[in-house]
Amino acid sequence: MSLSTAALATRRVLAAASHSSHEGGARTWKILTFVLALPGVGVCMANAYMKMHAHPHHQEEFVPYPHLRIRTKKFPWGDGNHSMFHNPHTNALPDGYESSHH
């Protein structure tokens, strides 16, 4: 498999970094940061943003399954019926959603 020019250049730089005694090591990782790492984050940011807007999630239909929404012991805060990161739109209480509007 033939490598692209950029990949060949990267391989040369990395080879140089491994052969030299700590000279240019910082430069190699600086290049990796701005060429690979941060653009990779940017791509994943764009991907997540687009996916989030592609399918606006509707409120899941409520089914009172006995194995979910366990309340064996009350939560030690508030009314004891809401989890710490409770979201009234996406998290139903044991007897149903508090708010059913979208």
Partner: protein
């Protein structure tokens, strides 16, 4: 003037181990009191005592090492062993939660619908925010390596920039994960799925916060000229811890987010 005829560090008497132990006692008993009697006074006291202990103990270590020269090569070797052993113990800590996850998910009980994810659970799309979180932590591993090489080569400005970038990425991960926690269609009370998900990722998030704090302390020290190109173990320990946090996330992502969805 008295001199020691060896290279080791005979530490001066310190009150911090005692205050730390008392703080841990108050924290644990305080947690139980909060759960059963709804009072937070013991918990708060324990938290304050523990935070004060950590601040003063580690401040003293910095004084002993950086300012008083007690961290000779043999002493540094001991510190390295210590950090490695501590991280190893943390690996075993997380191993337990992965054990719990695989125990429950490899043979789902009839109560869950005999399937994984359990009936009624809407999992998160592993290729949305969780993938972004993976990219963020991997990127922070690159930036922290850039920081290390910068310190070794005496590049002060680059070290400050790369360390700052690493910490910002850590904050971004924490922010994204907090958002995910709020938006998730399931909670910790949603059976064994919710329990394993939030306990494993929750402890991981706590370790991200701890690691970011450790790196932030290193940034402050770097700005104040504590590190030399040949002696910067505090930073190395922080970097090791950060890589460990990154690796734990990769296992979480593959196991819980991807395979478990």
């Amino acid at each position: 003037m008295a001199h020691q005829a060896h290279a080791y560090h005979m530490v001066d008497p310190s009150p911090w181990p005692l205050t730390g132990a008392v703080g841990a006692l108050l924290l644990t008993s305080g947690l139980a009191v909060w759960f059963h009697f709804h009072s937070t006074i013991l918990l708060s006291l324990g938290l304050i005592l523990l935070l004060l202990t950590m601040y003063q103990w580690w401040r003293d270590i910095i004084r002993e090492g950086t300012f008083q020269g007690h961290h000779t090569p043999p002493v540094q070797k001991g510190l390295r062993f210590g950090m490695i052993l501590f991280i190893t113990s943390e690996v075993f800590f997380f191993l337990g939660f992965f054990w719990a996850f695989y125990h429950s998910s490899l043979a789902p009980t009839p109560e869950l619908g005999g399937c994984w994810p359990p009936t009624g659970i809407t999992t998160l799309d592993p290729f949305e925010v969780p993938l972004l979180n993976t990219a963020v932590l991997l990127a922070s591993g690159v930036t922290v390596t850039w920081a290390h090489h910068s310190i070794m080569e005496g590049e002060r400005e680059q070290a400050i920039h790369s360390l700052t970038l690493t910490i910002l990425l850590g904050f971004y991960f924490t922010f994204l994960q907090a958002m995910e926690y709020y938006e998730a269609p399931f909670t910790i009370a949603d059976g064994v799925y919710g329990s394993t998900f939030f306990v494993a990722t929750g402890f991981h998030g706590l370790h991200v916060i701890i690691g970011s704090t450790f790196l932030a302390v290193c940034l402050l020290r770097q700005v104040q000229y504590h590190f030399t190109s040949g002696h910067h173990f505090g930073f190395e320990a922080a970097a090791w811890y950060w890589h460990f946090v990154d690796v734990v996330w990769l296992f979480l992502y593959i196991s819980i987010y991807w395979w478990g969805s």
